[in-house]
Symmetry: C2
Subunit: 96 residues, 2 copies
């Protein structure tokens, strides 16, 4: 199933940027980065559970917000993109 | 239907922050801000079309990325939240 993961973190601090890099690294094992802090991950239920555990270990729950949207199997017809950066380059310059 | 809107913009610049404020203002007519640049909007097809037109006028398509995820009617069971800021305060401090 496709899971959309949105991560809200303070990227003005080095700690926040480091958490975002780590969150991104885990998400990229299962999918792609579509915006600076938005990831589309294709996982089965076991992988999803493992991924959640990793992300929730990396995040700072007092400061950051992590949301999961289960898009199901027919997810492609549910997504529309406008503007720059379709297919976000995870190795690109991190927006500050 | 519920539409999730994710907006990727360079908030290090005053222009980017202004575009985010304007995007947020339009989205808040139809729903709530759940993260700094993530909005959940409840719209019918006509409203969705109008909202898209407004957002795509405000955005800078060369710099910003705007994604729409159609979550359908049973959207509540598709969403999970972890960490801070459930129910983002749109009048709160803008994260830079």
């Amino acid at each position: 199933m496709m899971v959309l993961i949105t991560y809200d973190v303070e990227t003005a601090t080095p700690e926040g940027r480091r958490r975002l890099r780590r969150i991104a690294k885990h998400c990229l094992n299962y999918g792609q980065r579509v915006q600076n802090s938005v990831f589309e991950c294709l996982v089965d239920p076991t992988q999803f559970k493992q991924l959640k555990q990793k992300l929730e270990t990396e995040m700072d729950p007092a400061k950051d917000s992590l949301r999961y949207y289960l898009l199901g199997a027919n997810w492609k017809k549910r997504v529309e993109h406008v503007g720059a950066k379709e297919g976000y380059d995870p190795e690109g310059v991190l927006l500050l």
